[in-house]
Symmetry: C2
Subunit: 508 residues, 2 copies
């Protein structure tokens, strides 16, 4: 064991033990609140040790499952390890792990897909049961017992507050983020709630460390392991065109006086397209930008570096290895420009509305009337979860959803007659973008929207079929507000489920 130089509190030094010993303190049926958000700040050793313990229990014929609550997605050493051994009874609130996904869709694991801003309040209020254990990665422990947060905050404050027992992982490989965090301790349950005093995206309203009752800490485990190396693909042509359409639209809004020249705080979803949009902003004629978002990815870091982006607020730093190296080289530069907050604050409806966030999120499909599916492939199979997209879309100034117009080499149209699952309703979606173009749905009735979505966003292969659907739905006369032919609304999804090309189109 290395010198525990990051564990300064004497009492907590007495709790140092191995990951296996710590995992032995977790019991079958426990609800476990783990740190971790988009592959950073998750515990690196205890979940794997727990998975080994569970596997052994199962070999011994003993049932052993736990509830796994996190900030958002984690990494294989947590989600995959535990799912692989069928150790998860229920997972919440967001995951993007292939093994978890397979288990959930096979009906072997329950998944609770809730808004990220709801998690803390649901736990405080006892809506989703009792939290037994917290397993939280930190960057260090101060002399007085306060904890230095790691690369993501997520729900850690809540886990540390609410759990009966706390297991800390102190990661020697965690970058030195001291002072970058802003842990707000001013939340209350109604009727005691007061306004949250945040009025600029980079305001600091809290403390730089977590509070934690040392008496609850049952184990301290030392690790030395990097976060997930989140790899972004090179910006492809479709993403570049999506970014281009969004930037053109934002310029237009500025020209019309509907957005200030420095725009409004940007929220940018997870994944490659979101990253590409940030890359696109690098060459766009905007300066002094700000971000109020969930996760800070490579593209946003580059915008900070170039000075295009003045400051960024998030709950997680999720960088590829190269961007992380750049970040560590210029730590003080970034320290003065980045604020990391608990996810109930990064995603808070009150703040998102007040700041007038411009929300840009990915989706699986949109229908011609502007309903968006972010979670379910063909209405039944979960992909990841809604994450924070609903927190932002619902209360944003402008809510933009983006996707390539097709998936699976053109066999699937991401613009469909009827979304097979709805996560963002027609009331919450203002703009839809694909590489084909952008549909600004503000002020339009469903019929008017359908025209724009088809003409601007659908892939040319699917346009005639979509036009035909609307025409025949209108003619059927069953209702001309939102014309639909319910008997065939999901035909395309059924074709895709059967491995055919949507719309009966010939194989490409």
């Amino acid at each position: 064991m290395t010198e525990p130089s990051r564990v300064l509190n004497p009492l907590l030094r007495q709790r140092l033990m191995s990951a296996d010993a710590a995992a032995a303190l977790i019991r079958p049926g426990d609800n476990v609140g783990m740190s971790g958000f988009t592959g950073t700040g998750h515990p690196k050793a205890v979940p794997a040790a727990l998975a080994r313990r569970i596997a052994q229990a199962h070999r011994d014929g003993e049932p052993f499952k736990v509830g796994v609550w996190t900030g958002a997605s984690t990494a294989p050493e947590l989600d995959a390890a535990l799912a692989q051994v069928d150790g998860i009874e229920l997972r919440l609130p967001y995951q993007s792990d292939p093994v978890c996904r397979e288990r959930i869709n096979a009906g072997r694991m329950e998944y609770l897909d809730i808004h990220l801003s709801h998690v803390a309040q649901f736990v405080w209020s006892g809506f989703i049961g009792h939290l037994d254990v917290a397993v939280v990665e930190v960057a260090g422990i101060l002399e007085d017992g306060r904890l230095v947060p790691a690369a993501s905050i997520g729900n850690n404050k809540t886990w540390l507050d609410q759990a009966d027992r706390v297991i800390l992982e102190v990661n020697a490989a965690s970058p030195d983020l001291e002072g970058m965090h802003d842990i707000y301790y001013g939340t209350h349950l109604p009727p005691q709630r007061m306004p949250i005093p945040l009025v600029r995206p980079d305001d600091r309203i809290g403390e730089a460390y977590y509070r934690c009752d040392p008496a609850k800490v049952v184990a301290v485990v030392q690790t030395n392991a990097p976060d997930r190396d989140t790899k972004f693909s090179l910006v492809d042509d479709a993403s570049r065109r999506i970014a281009g359409h969004i930037i053109e639209f934002l310029q237009h809004e500025v020209k019309k006086g509907r957005l200030p020249r420095e725009l409004l705080p940007l929220q940018s979803g997870v994944g490659n397209i979101a990253n590409a949009v940030m890359a696109g902003l690098q060459d766009a004629p905007f300066d002094n930008l700000t971000a109020y978002t969930e996760v800070l990815q490579d593209g946003m870091l580059a915008l900070l570096k170039s000075g295009k982006l003045r400051s960024a607020s998030a709950t997680a730093l999720s960088l590829g290895a190269q961007a992380l190296a750049e970040f560590e080289r210029e730590l003080d530069f970034y320290r003065s420009r980045i604020v990391l907050r608990p996810q109930e604050i990064s995603n808070h409806p009150e703040i998102v509305r007040r700041l007038g966030v411009i929300a840009m999120n990915g989706m699986i499909e949109a229908d011609i009337y502007g309903n968006v599916n972010s979670t379910h492939v063909h209405g039944t199979r979960i992909m990841n979860g809604i994450g924070g997209s609903g927190d932002f879309a619902r209360n944003a100034w402008l809510s933009i959803f983006m996707t390539p117009s097709t998936a699976k080499n053109g066999a699937i149209s991401c613009i469909v007659p009827m979304a097979s699952h709805v996560d963002h309703t027609e009331h919450d979606v203002q703009v839809i973008v694909t590489e084909q173009g952008l549909a600004d749905l503000r002020g339009l009735s469903p019929k008017q929207r359908s025209q724009l979505v088809i003409e601007n966003c659908a892939h040319p292969d699917y346009k005639p079929l979509l036009r035909d659907y609307v025409r025949r739905a209108l003619e059927s006369g069953s209702g001309r507000h939102t014309p639909h032919l319910l008997q065939e609304a999901f035909n395309w999804h059924l074709q895709a489920q059967a491995g055919e090309r949507m719309g009966g189109l010939p194989k490409a």
Copy 2:
């Protein structure tokens, strides 16, 4: 013309004219912001005069349509009168008028169904076009030109601010509500927004009168006409049982320590069931209740009278004739207990979240996974609109949706395999109630929810069919997170469209 004793400002007295003369100031193509919210506070004379003008223009072969923007629903002398003559190009944001509904569903009128909390901000920001004229009912005009609001506030502040030309209707029959209103003038566009300083449901943060630039006022019309006499049916058995389930649930939450004894501020939707729930609270073991809602109906007035309800905040008073008489008899009693606010404040996400509102809204149907349809019959025909239900459901402490388990004498199940339109997603619905029982969906995965919704909420006639659907969907294996059979998900709606009983059940 009667003595204009309610028009004290000398300049505005000079603008007194007939409704026909005022209507002549409205031009084809104008967007007209009208006052009115759930049948109260709408202009009583100018819309009808405008309808006559439009009818004449159409007889003369001249095109004449206007955009009609309101607070919410109005009354026949506005919505029906204008729709009847095909005078409405586009209607927003909520209506419940049979003639409008017929026109919209026939494709003869566009309808923009947006969240009530979005309207003001969409207009301030220029998202939905320019407002040409405001036609606003007031109770009086002060010497200095400020306006005494009538029985609803809705978007009036915004219409008066934003319109180029203002037409005032001064209604001598308007009850004396002076001092009951609280018009907040502290809103800004981002990035200038500050916290809204409202922390208790009955806080007053604004002014008792509307400001209005007299130079913009082109007409003042005197009227003497009552508001819509909103008739509530006698509380029927189904409503009584729905109310009973909700009250039992709230008691349970108090016992579990998840709600304070005086509950949290209540929001109650429009219509009979909402009214019945309020009636049910009369005999429930709760005291010192508060309400933070959109519309104050008879049931809530009775709760104020009995002292069960300490105070109520709303944007409209919508009372039946008898309740209105009671209200006017005890004006000072109610004046100290009721606050009427602009709808961007009564429905504001920031406030709804802060106060921890308990939202109770009606619906058309829910599916077994907890998705709620509030607006579209069989996915295509608009009923009314989403109104404020999304504002409340999305940011509430607890979001409850209620409906009888069947409609049309049992031919329609209001619990269906898949909702034919989604206004409130599975992420935003915590509780579903019918006369059969209540399903508390918190903390449950979709499959677990489906069990509870079927067993607790569906009508016995439909339970076996719903169970069978889930079983077969699970067996199909196409996805066991949210099991669906897309090929038959809407069969029941198609049967209903064809005039048959859902599920192929024999005619009752």
